[in-house]
Symmetry: C2
Subunit: 363 residues, 2 copies
Amino acid sequence: VAGGDTASALAAGNPVVVKAHPAHPGASDIAARAVRQAVSACGLPRGTFGLLHGASAEVSLALVVHPMIRAVGFTGSLAAGRALFDAAAARPEPIPVYAEMGSVNPVLVLPEALRERGAAIAAGLLQSATLGVGQFCTNPGVVLGLHDDALMAFVAEAGRLASAMPAGVMLQPRLADRFRAGRDAFRGTAGVEVAGEGAPGSGASSVAPIVFFVSGAAFLRDSSLREELFGPSTLVVACADRKQLGDAVRSLPGQLTASVHATEGDLRQYQPLIDALAERVGRVVFGGFPTGVEVAPAMHHGGPYPATTDVRSTSVGTASIQRFARPVCYQSAPASLLPPELQDANPRGLWRLVDGELSRAGW
Amino acid sequence: VAGGDTASALAAGNPVVVKAHPAHPGASDIAARAVRQAVSACGLPRGTFGLLHGASAEVSLALVVHPMIRAVGFTGSLAAGRALFDAAAARPEPIPVYAEMGSVNPVLVLPEALRERGAAIAAGLLQSATLGVGQFCTNPGVVLGLHDDALMAFVAEAGRLASAMPAGVMLQPRLADRFRAGRDAFRGTAGVEVAGEGAPGSGASSVAPIVFFVSGAAFLRDSSLREELFGPSTLVVACADRKQLGDAVRSLPGQLTASVHATEGDLRQYQPLIDALAERVGRVVFGGFPTGVEVAPAMHHGGPYPATTDVRSTSVGTASIQRFARPVCYQSAPASLLPPELQDANPRGLWRLVDGELSRAGW
């Protein structure tokens, strides 16, 4: 309701209509009230911000095809995001849809790094995979490595850490139900083993962290293992050789992030693999985990389809304003008609490109 | 073949496949040969540039849905551009389509400006409307003003200039046929008068410049008058009053450009009208005409649908590289993996935002 897309759209000068998630109408109302109070306190026009409720897809679709709606931001499932994208593309005047639709955020663990610091990587992985009970879009859901002793020790350590962790409470019982169903589907998939699982908690929304383990061959065989399991889990894939590891990387659809744990020696040997990963993602993290998404100019939070519907766009960071802005060129315009940003005197002291030179000067 | 989209895509590091227009396969081949020679001379990979021929829509559609094609640039008709856009949006992984599909590039002539320099504006209009025998995407096809003596004198002068101009030769007989058919349709539309027309030339591709005149009421009644007539023609619309002039502006679909001829006094009086125009276009030209499209960083050549399928994007100017690029964030990456643009030493001396400060320094 008061998230990044709302902030970006308002910053770009647009009014915003939010469709609240039916799982938390009350929390949405509280946030919307705060935004509306701010709108009023800032003297912005009434109607700058609106909130709609609705549990059916019709409300969202009606918004997306309304002629006065000019762009759409969305986070949720692939099916829902694609339905909104398709509706927007079929409008008489198509509009952009910025849908974020899930990601397994692959983590590449390379042999030397695992030998040097496998236990530390396992600890970082579990912390990241269980952060917010695994309910982050950047949750590291798939870990890719080469089957050797260091990887097996890493799997054992990750499993041990998971089994020692307490159960967590997801945002809604429905999410927990879905996680349990997905977890059981993973468990029932040929070749998938459980490396470790925490003790179950009580309550409808309570789920235990879990670490799965599978061979590269089984991972390549079953595309369902490459789909997001939303919750505190991760799947370690042990590839038989370098070729299979490459195949596993290339089997991945578009992702928000990839993470790489590698020594300098690993990097020299596996450069093409890292390039292949970078082609599939919006952000590559070295020596870390993807769950922290800093709100900063250098952040790019987006990625190739199906991670998002618009690979050019970020939902986090200063560039996110471009989702809801469009360029207009003013040629030979009198100063009185120009916005302050474009006036010769540069009253806001902005950096501007003037006759090929960047400058903050005015004249 | 060797146009702006090809240059932008190559500059962004992509290989390019061009589908040649069936009207000039030989010229396309000559241009493609020059590009392929440059590819070879620069030591770029074979296959960096390809040219396909085909007179049917199937070739284009097959290219647009090919999994290895990641973005599409197009200039042509609304029907063809929309078909490519729809095909791209329906792909399993949708891709951007930058289609430019026609524009009438409205020119607003305001009362004081017409009284002060109506004859000069008429001369500029005719020059712009007949440049390249009217075959520019930025051709000024509709002129909007208030019905008064100054406008009628302006119409008479524009008509006089058109009738004194020689016929021109369009690029192909088919374009000339279409122009003649469209011209005759305009002529047959209720309320449309011919203010002046040049003498017809000889030859299948020869067409004469023509200036039409219509009341604001008739213009608002018939949406076909708001569609592009590709060739050396323009339509002057005389609105009965300020409200009708506003209605005429707001009746226009998305455009590449708008031009405004106004004195300081006009600007003070008609600001909301100019704002309404700016909402419909990618570039607003003051005191000039839109046919000149300078290749410069400040240029924006694009506009709201149906002028283009992507209002955020320009086909001309340095920002056009963004059509064929996508952001990737490298977090904590070792210098050895970073492209030169991102290395701490800044070997290319680029302007970069570092910790919130723009700088060309390296360290």
